[in-house]
Amino acid sequence: MALDTLPSLPRKEQLILDLLVAEGPSFGLQLVKLSRGALKRGTVYATLARMEAKGYVESEQEALPPNAIGLPRRIFRPTALGTRVLNAWNVLAREFALEVPR
């Protein structure tokens, strides 16, 4: 897939992609818990929305049982583009011997 501009991958987005690739599709709150304090409840949903707009992740609502109370949660998974950008970032980081924060 050809892109108009070079994809950017800020640290938080990289962490989210890392977690989604490693742990599989996750809810926002799961990502917060998996990140062990690196992601916050107050910002992760805005970051996920931005990543979805960039095409790095996709989401769908979970199916609720018929008599369930409350809103359906949204589950996020990495897209092919997101995985490619993450791989490219890792190649770049290795090339420059950067210490990639986890």
Binding site: R41, G42, E52, A53
Partner: protein, 168 residues
Amino acid sequence: MNPSAGSSCPPGTLFLRIARLLFAEQTISRVFLPAVADFQNELREASTSRLTHLVARCRWYWALPALLVVTPFSVSIRSIGDQSSSHAASGGWLFTLLYVAMFVGAWSCVQEFMTAAIVAGVVLAWLMRAWNDRHPAVLSILGRETSRDCGKAFSASRPLIANSISMR
């Protein structure tokens, strides 16, 4: 025992009402609904212990207003779910107006303090600028050179990124 069993509305309802006043529907569905859904789910899971329930509630009561403030600045990319919308977050201007209103509202109470703070800030900025003009910092000269080097490094890294992406 479910501590929230007595309330008529599910938790987060008021928050969503406020968010709907400030933001476009795409932003609500992409940012705020997932947050509130996770909030409600965590409260449900924590309903067995009163303490855990309280801790979860406190965490979310801190996080949700933060999300309200962060979203206009962080979700400004076009097309969250709708290519025709020029801005996913339409609450940015409203927040700016809110800040201005707060500033104007506080003016009458702390007029002297705010005047003094503004004057002191301007004087300090002017003094720093004058000092900087007279004593050009080594760091700023180095910074210019470093930024040139960074520019070179970045342009050198572009083909690498492009290659690594096209390889996959």
